[in-house]
Symmetry: D2
Subunit: 265 residues, 4 copies
């Protein structure tokens, strides 16, 4: 299938610089290595390349979730791919699920959930900031999943509109203030995840979790390390990401008896 006008293309230059372009007939895109004419791209296939007017090769690839996340417009901290894949698994996000996402932010988590829940599922994305609601809406629209996301400009203090959701993701500065509301929105056995950058936030969140009927409360962090891909010098890169966030997970049950809880206060 040849690339058409209006299509989004992930362009990867020889020097490893990359962009996502929306192809428009007659226009061009300007890079530090010369201009790329969109008309050169139209009719090519993914996997082909075109040249800039300065002779640099530009490979044409379909953009995926990782490229979308790294190239989206954003004004908030994002959940990195290294954490995102694990969160989607731990929340067991899948076709048909109804999932709450707080806060919407730039929309990347809601976008990831929307991919998972398919046509038959739904994502309910809350944010109390109007600018985030606008930006998130734009990004979700761009990725073509806006119809699966119900966006709510709303504070969650007084609770969620939904009941019996399969999973709930909480990315707010003070998650401990909202765990009762989360418990109420989840179905029995439902899964929730919380991300917090600092140790103090996790400890405070754990204190709240242990007062409520949640099971399998787990805290994780991860370190991802990239290696040089040249076989002769195969070794990790000198520098790596040292920290993004702690991830806390738990599952709702209806009752939890004192005798099997740890350090309940």
């Amino acid at each position: 299938m040849a690339i058409q006008s209006g299509e989004r293309v992930y362009v990867y230059l020889e020097d490893e610089r990359d962009f996502i372009l929306t192809i428009e007939e007659g226009k061009f895109f300007s890079t530090h290595r010369g201009n790329i004419r969109y008309d050169d791209i139209i009719g090519k296939n993914f996997g082909d390349w075109v040249e800039t007017n300065k002779g640099t090769k530009a490979y044409l690839l379909p953009p995926g979730i990782i490229e979308n996340v790294f190239h989206m417009r954003r004004n908030s901290q994002i959940v990195y791919p290294k954490d995102l894949g694990f969160i989607l698994l731990m929340l067991d996000a899948k076709e048909g699920d109804r999932i709450i996402d707080v806060g919407l932010g730039s929309g990347s988590m809601s976008g990831a959930f929307a991919r998972m829940v398919g046509e038959t599922g739904k994502v309910f994305a809350y944010d109390r900031r109007e600018d985030m609601v606008q930006l998130g809406t734009q990004n979700l629209s761009l990725w073509g999943v806006l119809d699966r996301v119900e966006i709510k400009w709303k504070n969650i203090e007084s609770g969620f509109d939904e009941k019996n959701v399969d999973a709930l993701f909480l990315d707010v500065p003070q998650p401990w203030d909202y765990l009762v509301q989360c418990w109420e929105a989840l179905k029995g056995g439902g899964r929730m995840g919380v991300v917090s950058p600092t140790a103090g936030q996790v400890m405070e969140t754990l204190r709240s979790f242990h007062k409520l009927p949640f099971l399998q409360i787990e805290v994780w962090e991860d370190l991802f390390r990239q290696y040089k891909s040249d076989p002769v010098t195969f070794r990790p890169y000198d520098r790596m990401v040292g920290h993004t966030t702690y991830m806390t997970f738990a599952r709702k049950v209806f009752e939890l008896y004192p005798e099997n809880t740890v350090s309940r206060e």
Copy 2:
């Protein structure tokens, strides 16, 4: 929705031992903490608990992908959740995708892909061992995704039956022998992933990758660390997984010019 006979239930005991049970009227399951009568479970809701005949509480939860992977019958090394989530993202597995999985093994990767591709996608799972084909088939059937997976008892040396697949996952001892076949099966811009436990395997695989038109060749590993979830003693656990596998990723292009490749031989 009350739990019914025939349903699969993830049972989590007070002492953190866990099982996946398929409920059958009139029967019971025997644990080290007493028997669980299935008739006690029928009619309960997920999130409820029942008691063994020795008074131990058993929480009833819906099994998800992670529980399925850890509790499946297997006779091969599995891809761990810590790696699995990242691989699904890097391969951009999503609704409608056509994905090749080699080898099928116990079926966990094919099962994970099947969840991602939805009703409209397809997984093509190859294995040259008959026992694996049988076991993988059993597990995929148990998880209810067998209709999305086309299982092939077949050696891949002479290539794949499919063309233009979106993604391809290779978990074999000598991946470098099959990269040409993989390239041929992938669509332009398609993504492939390879897992290998040893450094020598990765280096050999990289040598082969660099001889072919693949772009964005990346090697990753990850360390996941769990923390004690008691806020008072919040700290990582003493022991952790030190290594599972290296993960190598690449994207197919149609041509790649010598001047932009690294250490091409």
Copy 3:
């Protein structure tokens, strides 16, 4: 120099089991792989081997600090070699230094400091538990460094007997209670280190550090990963140590002005 009666020998069996033995003429040591006669060892050189009466080879090696630490009698948590080397560097422990060690415990840190300070330095080791004082004394005597360590059975609440020490190491459950006393004992520019297993302890310790004239307050942790030493299967071991302790370091200055401190309370 042949091994003599009375000497300590690190014995490493073919199957990787190891022991430190003090050689006594006419006696023997019993292992799961047979007995080792001490008379066989006497007269051998380090680097030689002897056989047990069941034919297992036992290599004879001089014990070093790591073997001493792992084979000492102990009734407390030890500082692991992975952390120990870094602590010795960060405290700049060296010939001629006067160093305070709290608590003495089984004596391994005091033993390590004693090696560093040489004939001209001194270690002052405090512990409030009599059993620790006894055990630490025994171990330091065994390692031949007792003359460099002044052991004090004493609580540090009312301060230290020494002034102007070069370095101070604090391994107690509530380090934040003693930072003023530590500051008083250190010389200007002197270095101190604190080890604490939990995040909460570190945070509390940091709160206290930031109220006092300490500079270059740094917190570190480390992960050490061992690899299989067979070149064919070169890869990290499956399991590793996930956590031992957080290490906090700081240097004493006489005055510190509010404007250059971070989140001073």
Copy 4:
């Protein structure tokens, strides 16, 4: 003891920039935050501060091994403190030891060994590059340990001049070429360490180690992670060092029988 002319002082500015200065009467040092007059420093104590002529505080501290390593003149890759402390322990470097260091490079490892071996020990430092011999000599002289180090401008292919050394450290691009020579120089039970940045180097080195009578062949790497020292935001820094080197260790024995070696070729 007041700071005197000729003394080396580690200067730490309010903004965390740092320098090592050798104080000379009547002179000054120019920083981005103003000049520091050396006459202001003379007579002050370590732990005091002086002000630049623009009012920035500069703390005066005694330089230690870590400050020396990070502020030395160098034209080679250095062994980082995170690895250095562990290497010193694994080689059991201590008073009275005779230690071989190859290559000398900028002198930091020889300097570290010289601190450990004391007045009664000796370091033998080899380098085949004349410029390194000169630079290493300068740095060791600056640190006041040149009398403990015998520097040799010499290739090690034909072996070492010393026998029965306690430890040997090898930091060369192709360590596998020299293991026989190393074995010959070591005493029975002596320890050696090798650093290599790439996996391929380690594998090649292991192949050579396994052909020789070496015991306890171990390969390690480490990750050190620094945390923000503000208790309110306590968390790891965003970025960290991902890799410096692999460290391979082994101990010499006189004979090693085939039956207890792994993958000997």
